[in-house]
Amino acid sequence: MKWPFIRLLPREFHIDFVRLAPFAAIVSALLVLGSVGSFVAQGLNFGIDFVGGTAIEVRTKGPVPLGELRAAVPAAGGHDAQVQGFGRPDTAIVRFRTEGNAFQSAERVKQNLAAKFPGMEFKPPVVVGPKVSGELMSSGFMALGIALVLMLAYIWFRFQLQFGLGAVVAVFHDIVLTLGLLSITQIEFSMTSIAALLTVIGYSMNEKVITFDRLRENLRKYKTTPLREVINKSENERLSRTLITGSTAILALAGAMFLGGPVLFPLVSTMVFGIVIGTYSSVYVALPIILLWGVKRNDEPAEPLKPAGVRP
């Protein structure tokens, strides 16, 4: 046994990453087209957080069996069911999204629940609005837009403009594919999906900067080597780190994906998808853009720049 296992990892890799770039470009284009297509055709399955629904206050003879009720509401025809104990132990509030005629659907859910829980009393159903208001969405999009622009600016400042644009295009690619996944699978799009999406963006940006950092270093080291070869060399040097970090991240989430139950599954599987896509797009979206655009190589200072921040 050679423990620590890191010794098992080959010291050097010689993979021609760039050779695969044209194929990857086709794959990416198809995936983006598929995502956009699904998005246009069926859109996202917006949940109760976004479109609102119906709320009914229920009362039972004894304490409300919250667990059973949670399981019963979807079976009774209420989508995205939320059940919360409400004030007294024998009272609960049931919220769900309805399709079609809201009033009739709510009545049907009520009848089905009444059949399943004899003696359950119902208050008249009321319409509830979405948890995510218009301003919340617009301020969120504005925040995301400003954040992307400032990240681009920072990468431009630390690297070059084409690096910043490559990163932002690649992150957009990741956002489109993740939304595409959510659209194709028709997983309920909730506030949680937004959290997953933001996490994907964060992880993806982290990948891009790490990728660029090695490339920049090698561009200074090998001043006359063609860009294509420098990219290949950088990616091979970086491969062990990419494999270890990627597997750590996926391993950390795998438990939650398979054992976390129906609450965590949509969130965590979106995150895992994002990790895979974010790693892929660093190599096959961000770097090809830089390769096609080319980089300035001569006016770089010979000495590596000192880190921008103070060493902690």
Binding site: I6, L66, A143, G202, I210, R241, S247, M271
Partner: protein
């Protein structure tokens, strides 16, 4: 690298102690926490509504009050319109929800109706060229001005939407509470906030309309007559404070709360009493400056929700654009008022309908399954990193534990809200924190393979990896700060958690492992590194 400086060791020890101290209350039972001496932290993590439930308030938007106010404005607008057109009138007032006025000169009724049509009311939303008021000529030289039914509905709906946004802004001012705010039915708003969030405090912040105006005191009015309801036209009687039980003030507002750009609780340097300091925007500053310049020696009233909270004398023109509200404040009520003024006034008063506690949105089973699976994730990271990097993996794992303590400690201290998705995000934060160690160790490996001595390999590995780590984390921090600054509600909460994670991860992954490896190196003087 090898001679780890003393301040760095002190920093690591202090950070670890801090993490333990502030995370500890979360694992102590309530009874032990209550008996802790006062200087120790007692705050626990603020779990989200999904995990622990909280308090629930149901409010109704008082659309009647909204209509009354709009009709009052319509009366004032009509008065101005007729005066500008130089048409004499009598009996201007509200009858059955409509504005009624009698024009004195029968030949001018048409002209009056035209003047009113042109300058009263606004566009009707959703109808091209539509107006939200109708002006009709009635028998006996009367003119009726009324809102159309559609406009009334639209105004009520808009008031509910605006109220939701104002409430969200107000609760956001209290910290990252992640409340659940929804419209319920036509004109009700339900608010749920997690935990033992004091419902009283919530009500103080949510229930107050916080409509602030600055109006001139009408010194010409006879107080006795005013109390009997005989007021000069354009003036109104408002309740006051301990100094003066009521005031007669001019109806026209000099400046309103919308013209404030900032408000902060503070103290009056002379009296030492709590006050609210505020700043006007450009328009507000100009208007207030002009008004005070014209009225030196007179008093103006600071009116909050139709009650005079103070009526200072204008000693000199106030042109700086900032000022101070003094009144019967406590420190808390001054801070609350500042929050309300920053977040803006409610478009209509809210009346509370119901106050309840609610249980967690998720079932106990779901929470348990999720918590176990996420704990497995955390353990998996530690096992994996130790398997991969041996002793250095142990160092990284120790740094990770300090990281978790710091994150939980800071979140407990700042009372950030931890939701289920937040915990999953936290697990990913830990994976990214490990990335920093992987970057360092892979660099060290490269350097060692290039033939450097262990000391040099460590030295170069750390300093080279640091460039990447800082670049990546500064990028993340930029996005977190922006999201916190410009986002609202749950986005802010997410950004705050992310920002804490970025800072603690860089610290622990770089500094803590450096100190640990430094110690190990001095103690064992190894010939080669365990990861070579």
């Amino acid at each position: 690298m090898i001679t780890v400086s003393r301040w760095r060791i002190i920093l690591v020890v202090l950070a670890t102690l801090y993490g333990i101290l502030f995370t500890l209350p979360n694992v102590l039972p309530q009874s032990v926490r209550d008996s802790l001496p006062g200087f120790l932290p007692k705050q626990t993590l603020n779990l989200g509504l999904d995990l622990q439930g909280g308090s629930y308030l149901l409010y109704e938007v008082d659309t009647k009050a909204l209509r009354t106010e709009q009709l009052t404005n319509l009366v004032e607008d009509s008065r101005t319109a007729l005066r500008n057109a130089e048409i004499d009138f009598t009996g201007l007032g509200v009858v059955n929800g409509e504005v009624n006025v009698r024009i004195n000169d029968p030949t001018k009724v048409e002209a009056a109706a035209k003047a009113l049509r042109e300058s009263v009311g606004g566009a009707l939303v959703g109808v091209a060229g539509g107006r939200d008021v109708t002006v009709s000529i009635q028998p006996d030289q009367r003119i009726r001005v009324a809102y159309v039914a559609q406009a009334l509905d639209a105004q009520a709906a808009k008031a509910v939407e605006q109220s939701i946004e104002v409430i969200r802004r107000r609760i956001d001012e209290l910290g990252t509470k992640e409340p659940d705010i929804r419209r319920q039915g036509a004109n009700r708003i339900s608010i749920a906030a997690p935990g033992e969030s004091d419902p009283k405090k919530l009500q103080d912040i949510v229930g107050q309309t916080a409509k602030l105006t600055f109006q001139m005191v009408d010194e010409t009015a006879d107080p006795v007559q005013a109390q009997q309801g005989r007021l000069p036209p354009g003036s109104v009687l408002l309740p006051g404070d301990d100094i003066q039980p009521f005031y007669v003030v001019k109806r026209r507002a000099l400046v309103t709360g919308e013209m404030l750009t900032d408000a902060q609780g503070g103290f009056n340097p002379q009296t030492g009493r709590p006050v609210v300091n505020f700043r006007f925007n450009g328009v507000g500053a100009k208007r207030f400056g002009d008004a005070t310049a014209q009225n030196v020696g007179k008093r103006f009233a600071i009116v909050l929700d139709n009650k005079v909270i103070s009526a200072p004398n204008i000693n000199e023109p106030i042109t700086g654009g900032s000022g101070q509200i003094s009144g019967n404040f406590t420190t808390e009520s001054a801070n609350n008022l500042a929050i309300l003024l920053r977040a803006g006034a409610l478009p209509a008063p809210l009346t509370i309908q119901e106050q309840q506690t609610v249980s967690a949105e998720l079932g106990a089973d779901a929470i348990r399954a999720g918590a176990i699976s996420l704990a497995i994730g955390g353990v998996a990271i530690i096992v994996f990193i130790i398997l991969a990097y041996g002793l250095f993996g142990v160092f990284a794992a120790l740094a990770l534990i300090v990281n978790v303590l710091l994150i939980l400690g800071i979140m407990s201290m700042t009372q950030a809200t931890l939701t289920f998705p937040g915990i999953a995000g936290l697990i990913l934060t830990l994976a990214v924190a490990v990335d920093a160690n992987v970057l360092i160790y892979e660099r060290v490996r490269d350097e060692a393979h290039a033939g450097r001595t262990p000391i040099m390999a460590l030295e170069h590995g750390y300093s080279r990896a640091l460039v990447s780590i800082l670049d990546a984390n500064i990028t993340s921090a930029i996005s977190a700060i922006i999201m916190f600054q410009f986002g609202s509600g749950p986005i802010r909460g997410f950004a705050w958690t992310l920002l804490i994670g970025v800072i603690t991860s860089v610290f622990t992954a770089v500094v803590v492992t450096q100190v640990l490896i430094g110690w190990w190196f001095r103690a064992t003087k190894p010939k080669s590194l365990p990861i070579e």
